[in-house]
């Protein structure tokens, strides 16, 4: 965008020098504005939109969370930190947080390890890599609702294909939605199906950026393939791994669609005993099903803080990868 407008201006300035005239002050000001102010002007639309749709709701939610606020009655009075005090003693909040962390643990750890191994394998393949890359990204671009319908059917108790296959091995049907671990597993499978390929491609890009001569030097020194992977590939990919871990944490802590569609009924209860109700489902249930906007806002803010804390822990832990090398 900027190139065509800048070129003639530079040409004009060049011409000015050529004829021996002094540099035009206005032109110089324009040039300064062009290089110093223009970048800010170009990114302003993002910040305007972010302000309207990101920052304002964020701050407004703080305001709402300090009030008794319902859908019908609107603002029903300032209650200070009451909503937060209630939250600390609310078994449903802790249950939802446990569910969210539990699903996070059994989804993200295997997902990133699988992505790393897949990327390493792809990195060695030369032929047909493009096709494989496309295959890996297909789950990510598939409609999440369509995916959820397919998985809901797979994980059915009576008529689900997974239970039918398990039956061939003499295993009793699993009530996938009924139990805590079984429902977490089913949801983790949906999450991993969607995100593994995405992370694989990011890892693959990072791997391809590692200088080949490092591997050659290590190989000459007699380092095994495994050792090269752990001592060259992984440390060189540290920023990428940090990025995926943080992005996955943020995404997984706000997990909503997969468990919501996996659930039966639209109450956002996360199973008949809340065994897979995530924090975001609790926010939705309180605010939009029960009309308790104030409390829903408080829960979403505590979730935000939890994500910030987890993000900091991630940074500290991933920093140790570097320290070890």
């Amino acid at each position: 965008m900027t190139a065509p407008t800048r070129a003639p201006r530079d040409a004009r300035r060049g011409a000015g020098h050529g004829t021996g005239r002094g540099p035009d002050r206005a032109a110089r000001l324009r040039a300064t504005l062009d290089t110093k102010a223009a970048p800010y002007a170009f990114i302003t639309p993002f910040f305007l939109l972010f302000g309207v749709f990101g920052l304002f709701p964020l701050l407004y939610t703080v305001w709402v969370s300090l009030h008794d606020w319902s859908l019908i009655g609107g603002n029903e009075g300032f209650v200070g930190l009451d909503n937060y005090a209630v939250l600390l003693g609310d078994a449903k909040f802790w249950n939802a947080l446990l569910n969210t962390l539990g699903i996070f643990a059994i989804a993200v750890v295997p997902q990133l390890l699988a992505a790393l191994l897949l990327a390493d394998a792809l990195n060695r393949i030369v032929r047909g890599r493009g096709l494989l890359q496309i295959t890996l990204i297909i789950p990510y671009v598939t409609s999440i609702a369509a995916m959820a319908i397919v998985f809901s059917t797979l994980f059915g108790t009576e008529y689900g294909m997974i239970n039918q296959v398990l039956g061939l091995f003499g295993i009793d049907p699993v009530n996938w939605r009924g139990g805590r671990l079984s429902s977490w597993t089913a949801i983790a499978v949906m999450v991993d199906w969607r995100w593994t390929g995405y992370n694989t491609l990011i890892y693959l890009a990072a791997m391809q950026a590692v200088p080949k001569d490092l591997y050659e030097a290590a190989a000459l020194d007699g380092a095994s393939a495994l050792r090269r992977f752990w001592q060259i590939t992984i440390p060189m990919m540290r920023p990428t791994i940090l990025f995926t871990v943080i992005i996955s944490t943020i995404g997984q802590m706000q997990l909503f669609t997969e468990p919501a569609v996996f659930d039966t009924g639209g109450a956002m209860a996360g199973g008949n005993q809340g065994q897979f109700q995530t924090v975001m489902m609790l926010v939705f249930q309180e605010a939009f099903r029960y009309g308790n906007y104030g409390y829903g806002a408080a829960v979403s803010w505590v979730l935000f803080l939890v994500i910030v804390v987890l993000g900091l822990i991630n940074v500290l832990l991933t920093g140790r990868i570097k320290g070890a090398t």
């Binding site: 859908l71 059915g156 639209g266 109450a267 008949n272 939009f288 029960y290 308790n292």
Partner: protein
Amino acid sequence: MTKRSPTTRPRRALRAAAAALGGGALLLATACGGGGGDGEVTLTIDTFGVMGYEALIERFEEEHGIQVEERNITDVADYTPQLQQNIASGSGAGDVVAIEEANIAQFMLQQDAFVDLAEHGAADLEGDFLDWKWDQGVAPDGRIVGLGTDIGGLGMCYDTELFGEAGLPTDREEVGELWPTWDDYAATGEEFTEADTGAAFMSTVQPLFRVVTAQAGGEPFQNTEGELVIEDTPTTREAYDTVTSMTGLSAALPIWSDEWNAAIQDNAFATMPCPAWMLGHIENTAGEAGEGRWDVAAVPGGGGNWGGSFLAVPTQSEHPEEAAELAKFLTSPEGQLGAWEEANTLPSSPEALESPEVTEFTRPYFNDAPVGAIFGATAMELEPVYYGPDTQAVDDAFRAGLESVEQGQATADEAWETAVAESERAAG
């Protein structure tokens, strides 16, 4: 049915174009430049599920020269929160809106957002509705917020082939005589289970709770002040105990789930409480293979009702006069019969219920069962029920509780505690 066929829209557009042309010609002929009149009124009506209004709306358009656009959302669980937002924010709702029975009290809390239909001549219409249906649409201070459309009169659907296999009678009269009470229904279930047909007696106990509480009438969950009275209403706990005593007869499949629909196709259960609007679901789900398999008998425990709706006019409408006219037309005995003919939604008007169009109606798919007579009879016997503003959430809480009992994750007492606590959260 309420989802318009793609052909209707162009036709309507054509007619609109013709009307505009005609109007233009008229203007030219009279050579009148006086402001051009106030133009044509267009009304919007928001509906959910299947209301059966297509032909009625066309008739209204022709008689009044008013354009009507119907906006339909299939699932009431999606429809109601959206309507709630539109009412609360003061814009976006239709000129006429449908409200489901369990949610009417929630909107009564915002009665000022709705036009008092008494101002548009609705006060004289009381006799056109069953008493309890009329009362549900009127606010405590007498404001007429909603006019009744259909009701969910109840029958008990049963699978004649499975009943035959189990050595039970298959004739609908005899089947109805098997279970005057819910205890008799449970006893029949035991007998059916002993016969070991491989099918369960019912899909889930969950919907029975709403049915049995409704049969007791009164204020099962909340009183008119909006206070939670679940634990103060003995009949609610009695209904709960009746229902949970039958979990052994259930296939424990959550209602409306894919599994549940698969079970209908698989003939995996033998009975299901059937409001009028459920017949269409069975017919669509079981398909041709199920034709003649299902039949409808009387429901245990006397009358019963599950669902049904109202039409209301939000004050945000720019044409309240015309909108009230449309609501009155659609809910009139004549309008209700029109909807019955189109979609089998059971009328809430005694006159329509007693008319031969309803009483003599038979449904071929269900062995020519006289569903109009069966459903109509239960509606006439019904005790009035008051559903408070948080009924949807209470219903959801008990649904989860009953499912956890029948799936063996909680005892009946544990699930009761959980459901009551959850209801308190919603109502608090």
